[in-house]
């Protein structure tokens, strides 16, 4: 192993967030360890563990329509989540240091409302709010909202950027020394609050905001989008990027390098954007035990029904009722050429995908379900506490990541072994804090002031 000093960032520190939790098949719901998905007690327990483990952030995702498959609500995965800002406001009073990050959509919100709710969370948590800015790339979500589905992929980032412009103007509308006194002329010093007027292609707003800045200035801006438009949006606007590039070192480094180039091209210092890929972490006493545990976990994540659903999407067929523990379907896939409205999604011919599945299944003598697991996305890291700590220290010192947003596979105890076993190993290696040194999310992440609050360079 290379020594720390040979790597580009020998003093780099690893930052952890916890992603509670995707509505997808990676959360195991079938076991005794599987707790409630919705009870407040589950959130309370998870955030307490994360704060005990000195995590930077507790992160909530969002989906504004229940997932469907075959024209009906998708049944196989955990589902049902609270509204993120509301839930984080409730958790703010139970925690004192950890950042509270809400995924919130810019297409189906208005800045006057959402920027105010985020500012409220930031004030109530005394500077611990974050906002994961997402745009949602489907029109079908719009059926739950007044305007219906609208805006195609490119316009969604235009709106997102203009949305942020209004939000920042609102967060900048109060002077730092706004407060009046009981014997003075007014509650707020006259002139301390400036109305915000913005007219752009997406917005025409005229508002007097009701909140001052928190101790961290603005909520920390996160972004999770992977297209070129999405990465450029992050490079111009975000302070943390949440990606799916954190399992394989070369992939992580390539992503980090690409994103940092974009950040510099946008006129910002390369370290202005922190890179926190999502990851799963599976820990065992030995490498063999960890591998066995990973296999046990995969079989509970990819149940027979889930394997058939995933293969069904590849084949374009309803495979319900087939034997997932038998061979791949003998049929050829149904090929539907994409129409022009698929946005930036790259289309791959299903015949190619099926051929690859057949090759792998044959070479490795795998069942359908084993093939789905074998060819599924790389989910993260499997190992012993010390092995993982070495690997993560290398990732962060090499600049491939700034940390990870951890997805636990069990709710609400899925962080316990990470906090109890991995964190001490990371601390021993000097890549993880031994106490919180700041009180705000911005301080935890080592971020500069918000983009609009810096002295001009």
């Amino acid at each position: 192993m290379t020594s720390a000093d040979d790597l580009p960032r020998p003093d780099a520190q690893l930052h952890f967030g916890v992603f509670f939790q995707g509505v997808n098949h990676w959360t195991i719901w079938s076991e005794p360890e599987s707790g409630s998905q919705v009870d407040f007690a589950s959130f309370r327990r998870m955030v307490a563990t994360a704060e005990r483990g000195l995590f930077d952030a507790f992160f909530l995702g969002e989906g504004l329509r229940l997932r469907e498959s075959g024209g009906k609500v998708h049944e196989l995965d955990v589902a049902g989540r609270p509204d993120a800002v509301t839930q984080l406001a409730a958790l703010a009073g139970l925690t004192s240091r950890i950042g509270l990050v809400a995924t919130q959509n810019t297409t189906y919100n208005e800045p006057a409302d959402l920027a105010r709710r985020l500012a409220g969370l930031d004030v109530l948590s005394e500077g611990r709010a974050g906002w994961n800015v997402v745009t949602t790339d489907n029109a079908w979500t719009g059926e739950n909202f007044r305007r219906g589905g609208y805006l195609d992929h490119a316009d969604r980032y235009v709106r997102a950027e203009q949305f942020l412009q209004v939000a920042r103007a609102m967060w900048d509308s109060w002077a730092d020394d706004w407060a009046g006194s009981a014997d003075g002329p007014a509650w707020a010093r006259p002139g301390a609050v400036a109305p915000v007027r913005v007219t752009s292609s997406q917005f025409d707003v005229d508002i007097t905001p009701t909140l001052p800045r928190s101790p961290q200035g603005h909520p920390v801006i996160f972004q999770a989008g992977d297209s070129s438009d999405g990465r450029d949006f992050a490079a111009r606007n975000a302070e943390v990027i949440f990606s799916a590039h954190g399992s394989d070192f070369d992939d992580a480094l390539a992503f980090a390098t690409d994103v940092r180039h974009r950040v510099v091209a946008a006129g910002r210092p390369a370290d202005d954007l922190k890179i926190l890929p999502g990851t799963e972490i599976i820990i065992g006493d030995t490498e063999t035990e960890a591998e066995e545990k990973a296999r046990w976990i995969r079989l509970r994540q990819v149940t027979p029904a889930t394997a058939l659903a995933i293969a069904g999407q590849v084949w374009g067929l309803d495979l319900t009722g087939r034997d997932a523990d038998g061979p791949l379907p003998a049929e050829d896939p149904v090929v539907v050429e994409p129409t022009g409205t698929m946005g930036s999604r790259r289309w791959t011919d299903p015949r190619q995908i099926v051929q690859r599945w057949r090759d792998v299944a044959e070479a490795e003598k795998l069942t359908l379900r084993e093939t789905v697991i074998r060819l599924g996305p790389q989910r993260g890291h499997v190992g012993t506490p010390s092995g993982l700590a070495d690997r993560f220290a290398h990732f962060v010192r090499a600049g491939a990541v700034d940390g990870f947003n951890v997805s636990p596979y069990f709710t609400p105890d899925g962080l316990d072994d990470i906090v109890d076993r991995l964190v001490p190993e990371l601390q021993d290696r000097g890549v993880y804090r031994t106490a919180y040194t700041g009180t705000t999310l911005r301080e935890h992440l080592g971020l500069r002031d918000p983009i609009t609050r810096r002295a001009p360079r």
Binding site: R65, E75, T86, A90, A92, G120, R146, W187, I207, A305
Partner: protein, 355 residues
């Protein structure tokens, strides 16, 4: 003996008077932060109020420039309190009913079934803040009615046992227990189902000013009237009726009228058409005892929270409890159960049942 009077208190800002902040014990700089909010909510809970409401609007309130959103405030105090009902004001004129339903259902989860909603309309000035056409006149009631309907449908769109965790078939959900709401109004449609499961109370307790929303959609009508007779005849009586009462009390810091006069010298207290009481605690006890014969509850709007709340806590509520005119909310109750409301059957399963 009539059933006990339910006691609600409005906790927005520093009190009902637009200049209340001038008599508050904290400086404006500390008015918006968590410490103050926690303190005032716990004070109201310990005093024995059944519920607290939190006023709200997109634009700044009268007299002060700052305010944290009501849902966020109610959520913040939810795990820091244990029996008091938490009832934010949420507008219906420009908000997205789908988001509102998620926020309120989430508040019900965080408070373990103590959440409600004061349905509100939003003034025309908010339209410019949102870049929307102004909604006014009859359209305000239409938007309020539709928003309540959509919220109620979405709260029922998951049956209580929709998460079946059926290991044999690999299904976490049973899709037949989830329902599209397919709301079609005059100005928008909502598909559903909700993204939040059915809240602990099934349906949150819905409060609305009398006459705004069809009476069968409301659990508690808020009745404003200048005197007891006007309050007694207000509202439809289809659900519970709460009288709106503005309160200024004699305190060690000054008599009620002197304190009102002191604040009025800065900014006059606008007349809202609500019953207004100014005087000693005993007089308020007598007024509330009289009201207990004609309404199911009262919502108090204290002149200055820091001055009226201690007085209410020390002299008014204990007298009402002692006389059994009012009662504390029982430990472990939901807001519905405190009101004697059952946990409602899900409207979608009710429809499915054979006649």
């Amino acid at each position: 003996m009539p059933p006990p009077l339910h006691l609600a208190i409005e906790l927005d800002g520093d009190g009902a008077h637009p200049a209340a902040w001038r008599r508050s014990r904290h400086a404006p700089a500390d008015a918006l932060g968590p410490a103050r909010l926690r303190q005032v909510a716990r004070h109201a809970e310990n005093a024995g109020f059944t519920l607290a409401t939190f006023d709200d609007a997109l634009l700044p309130p009268a007299g002060v420039a700052g305010r944290v959103g009501a849902v966020e405030r109610a959520a913040y105090v939810a795990p820091l309190t244990s029996v008091i009902g938490l009832v934010p004001v949420v507008g219906t004129t420009y908000t997205e009913p789908f988001h509102v339903a998620s926020q309120l259902a989430s508040l019900d989860f965080a408070s373990l079934g103590r959440a409600g909603w004061v349905v509100a309309t939003t003034g025309a000035a908010a339209a410019a803040a949102l870049g929307r056409p102004v909604v006014e006149g009859d359209a305000l009631a239409r938007e309020a009615r539709d928003a309540v309907r959509v919220n109620r449908d979405l709260w029922d769109s998951w049956e209580d046992d929709a998460a079946i965790r059926d290991v044999l078939t690999g299904r976490y959900l049973d899709h037949t227990k989830l329902h599209y709401v397919d709301f079609v109004g005059e100005t928008y449609t909502v598909k559903g189902p909700a993204i939040v499961p059915r809240p602990p109370q099934g349906q949150l307790v819905v409060f609305a000013p009398a006459g705004l929303v069809p009476a069968d959609q409301v659990d508690v009508e808020l009745v404003a009237g200048p005197d007891v007779a006007a309050v007694a005849s207000g509202g439809s009586g289809a659900g519970l009726r709460f009288a709106e009462v503005e309160v200024a009390l004699d305190t060690a810091a000054g008599d009620a009228l002197d304190r009102v006069g002191d604040l009025d010298a800065h900014t006059p207290w606008p007349h809202t058409g609500r019953l207004r009481y100014a005087g000693p605690a005993a007089g308020l006890v007598a007024l509330l005892t009289e009201l207990a014969r004609v309404v199911d509850g009262v919502r108090l709007h204290p002149l200055v929270l820091d001055e009226e709340l201690p007085e209410l806590s020390a002299r008014v509520l204990p007298a009402l409890f002692e006389a059994r005119v009012a009662g504390r909310p029982p430990v472990g109750s939901t807001l519905r159960s405190t009101f004697g409301l059952t946990r409602p059957e899900n409207r979608f399963t009710a429809e499915e049942q054979p006649a």
